[in-house]
């Protein structure tokens, strides 16, 4: 297994978010001899948190930090306005998925539709060879071409949110940080004189500035009253919108009265049409099987059941599993059970550190069936 040798000098777009990772990734791409052009994506159209008056568009600080990094590296810098594409492919999808009772991953959607699609396509049309980003994942030349592997820094590994990329997309991508740990990346940024070396990592969803997902969804979707019920169907309280809940959620249920056994209760099920949210004990969240749709395979479609590991949410644990592909849908039998698995999230399938494929979780099978 050898890391892909840079095939001579490539013309690359370096996506500069204004953070430390993308700045160091761009710096490494420059050092590797590539002809690098920095691009900051203006994605948000949220007028209150991002827009600057009538001409505006996006976070001023991030755009400024990205430009400073490009200036320090001596590379050209442009801002590409992808806010329409982002609103269509990521924000609208986020809203409609929650509306349908599922739990979307907007970062994954952004990689799939914006960074490695709209941006990459635009780059290719303009005569560039690919896109370099600050994602933590490794691209490796395997016997059947490019493979994606988990990053060396397990805590930062982002192969999960990149698992939806096709081989064609990966061939045009460069992840210069995949072999590094975050602390080294920060130290390198400081040594290079990048002003963002100590900038905090971003965790929240970028288009929800205050981190209040439920409040943001409530503004978009309005009040849709429903009930929180226990597993016997007894109403515990009313709520203003089932979209504010996620399967596996414990905090913020505000049920008032404790459960009979005194144990904490979790969201077990969301029924989007009636708005019924079912809660119950943690062990009723236990899942031992998944039905997944829209699979994407790194190589040929597997014909026989195979042992592997799967990751079911960003920064989630790995679970041993047996995967069987039948008529294009993916049956996942979990050897290690999982808790709080939400339809809409991705199931990314690994062989060791290598991404074998990914699919979208459509249904889960509970070890103890919910009535």
């Amino acid at each position: 297994m050898k890391v892909i040798a840079a095939p001579a000098r490539r013309r690359l777009i370096a996506a500069l978010s204004g953070g430390v990772d993308s700045a160091v990734a761009a710096a490494r791409a420059v050092d590797a001899g590539h002809d690098v052009t920095g691009v900051h994506l203006a994605l948000s159209r949220n007028p209150r948190s991002y827009r600057s008056g009538a001409r505006g568009c996006c976070s001023l600080e991030d755009s400024h930090d990205a430009r400073r990094a490009a200036d320090l590296l001596g590379i050209p810098f442009y801002v590409w306005d992808m806010s329409d594409e982002f609103a269509d492919a990521v924000v609208d999808d986020f809203v409609s998925e929650y509306e349908a009772g599922r739990t979307p991953n907007p970062c994954l959607r952004c990689n799939e539709s914006i960074k490695f699609a709209a941006v990459l396509d635009r780059a290719l049309a303009l005569g560039f060879d690919g896109v370099a980003t600050g994602h933590y994942a490794r691209l490796v030349e395997g016997p059947a071409g490019v493979e994606m592997h988990r990053a060396v820094d397990a805590g930062k590994d982002q192969s999960y949110v990149l698992g939806v990329l096709t081989k064609e997309q990966l061939e045009r991508s460069l992840f210069p940080l995949g072999g590094s740990v975050k602390s080294d990346v920060r130290a390198e940024a400081a040594a290079r004189g990048l002003s963002v070396a100590q900038k905090p990592d971003s965790h929240d969803i970028c288009f929800i500035a205050d981190g209040d997902n439920a409040g943001w969804l409530a503004e978009k979707l309005g009040r849709r009253a429903g009930a929180i019920v226990d597993e016997d169907g007894a109403i515990l309280r009313e709520h203003d919108g089932a979209y504010a809940f996620t399967i596996g959620q414990r905090r913020g249920l505000r049920l008032g009265i404790p459960a009979d056994d005194g144990q904490p209760r979790y969201v077990l099920d969301i029924e989007p049409v009636s708005g019924m949210v079912t809660v119950g004990p943690r062990d009723h969240l236990e899942v031992d099987g998944l039905e997944c749709i829209k699979p994407l395979w790194a190589g040929a479609v597997p014909s026989d059941p195979f042992e592997c590991t799967v990751q079911l949410r960003a920064h989630g644990d790995e679970h041993r599993a047996v995967v069987n592909v039948v008529d294009g849908s993916v049956h996942v039998q979990l050897t290690d059970p999982a808790f709080g698995i939400a339809p809409g999230q991705a199931c990314v399938i690994y062989d060791g550190t290598r991404v074998v494929g990914s699919a979208t979780i459509d249904r889960t099978r509970r070890t103890a069936a919910v009535p």
């Binding site: 203006a42 505006g56 976070s59 442009y78 306005d81 635009r122």
Partner: protein, 382 residues
């Protein structure tokens, strides 16, 4: 900067003394400032006392707009008449007094060539002449190069005793600009467009007029613009203006020839290209050194990206604070649709431009246009 301007700056940058001081050092600095003021006034057809130094064109335009708007309030003048294609350094202070001081604004439309409709202006003034605090029309447009009919504008205003300001930043050094002959009440000039330093400009203001100051303090510049007078910048400004005026006709002819060759070359290599502005050459029609071209189906930002990669610097409309390109108000005011406006580039020539630069642009453009169209098609499907 031209070498003469650099030399003048360097000569005076080490000099100690404040031109407002009474001691010997102050007197010698004051002599530099006043001799420079006289040279600048002479070159621009103004009296030395009419030259009010500012930090540049933006401040001079702000002083004209806000200064006359505020001064006019005393006698009930609260209306401003400005063309739709002014620089932001005029339009934005106009918007500001509109929002903060209850001023009214009449925006005068332009035709497809980018020239103001003087009849509309005349009607606006005649509707209530006593309410007009200021008419402001630029001498020549900075984006498309169209020369404005300043004599007709002045005549329309003079009939009613209305004050007229003109932003002549782009015109000085390329056209025959004479403040006294023009009949203007105020005029903006700046040094860095003439090969002088950044950070110095002037508002020429007729002696008997007193715009309300923006800056209060030491009372320099006839109490209109307080602040220590920057002698090295002023000396450098005067030197640059001397050079620009001396070679104006010769340079204009050379730039017009390069501009025309670039225009012909672009039209030959891209049949879809549209040249914006006044098609007629000549000092009453357009600036000799600006070529504004729409490339339908392209986005200016990707054209810029690819030309920049070839070492060619040109410009598009404007960008917001975060850097997202926006269509400029100038081509929009001329009636171009937003997509065409966003696909327009401005090529500017200066005293350092050479024929080889034109060749380089013509060599780089075909691939840039083709790729920009391909990238644009991805987004718009057309």
């Amino acid at each position: 900067m031209v070498p003469e301007a650099i030399a003048a700056f360097a000569e005076h940058a080490g000099r100690i003394g404040n031109a407002s001081s009474l001691h010997d050092a102050g007197r010698s600095v004051r002599r530099v400032v006043e001799e420079s003021r006289e040279r600048i006034a002479d070159r621009l057809g103004a009296l030395p006392s009419e030259v009010v130094f500012t930090s540049g064109g933006t401040e001079a335009n702000n002083l004209a707009i806000k200064g006359f708007a505020w001064a006019g309030r005393a006698d009930g003048r609260n209306r401003l008449c400005v063309s739709a294609i002014e620089h932001h350094a005029v339009l934005d202070p106009v918007d500001w007094v509109l929002e903060h001081d209850g001023a009214e604004v009449a925006t005068i439309r332009v035709d497809v060539a980018g020239r103001i409709d003087v009849e509309v202006l005349t009607r606006e003034i005649a509707a209530d002449p006593g309410s007009v605090a200021l008419v402001s029309v630029m001498w020549a447009n900075n984006e498309v190069g169209t020369v404005q009919p300043i004599a007709a504008v002045v005549a329309a205003a003079a009939e009613h005793g209305v004050r007229v300001h003109s932003d002549a930043v782009q015109a000085v050094g390329h056209l025959d600009v004479d403040f006294a002959q023009s009949g203007l009440d105020a005029m903006t000039v700046t040094a860095h467009k003439l090969g002088g330093p950044v950070g110095i400009g002037a508002l020429l203001v007729r002696r008997e007029l007193d715009p309300t100051p923006l800056l209060h303090g030491g009372g320099q510049e006839r109490q209109v613009r307080s602040g220590t007078v920057p002698a090295p910048l002023i000396a450098s400004f005067a030197a640059a203006l001397d050079v620009a005026m001396t070679r104006r006709e010769d340079l204009s002819g050379r730039l017009e020839a390069m501009r025309s060759r670039l225009q012909a070359g672009i039209c030959a290599l891209d049949p879809l290209a549209i040249v914006n502005g006044d098609p007629e050459p000549g000092p009453d029609h357009r600036l000799p050194h600006i070529l504004h071209v729409a490339f339908p189906g392209c986005e200016a930002e990707t054209l810029l990206l690819m030309l920049d990669a070839e070492g060619i610097a040109c410009s598009a409309g404007s960008a917001c604070a975060a850097g997202v390109p926006q269509a400029s108000h100038v081509p929009l005011a001329m009636g171009l649709d937003a997509a065409t406006a966003r696909g327009s580039l401005r090529f500017s020539f200066g005293h350092t431009s050479r024929d080889a630069d034109v060749d380089a642009v013509l060599a780089a453009l075909p691939a840039a246009i083709e790729r920009s169209r391909a990238a644009s098609f991805l987004r718009t499907g057309r």
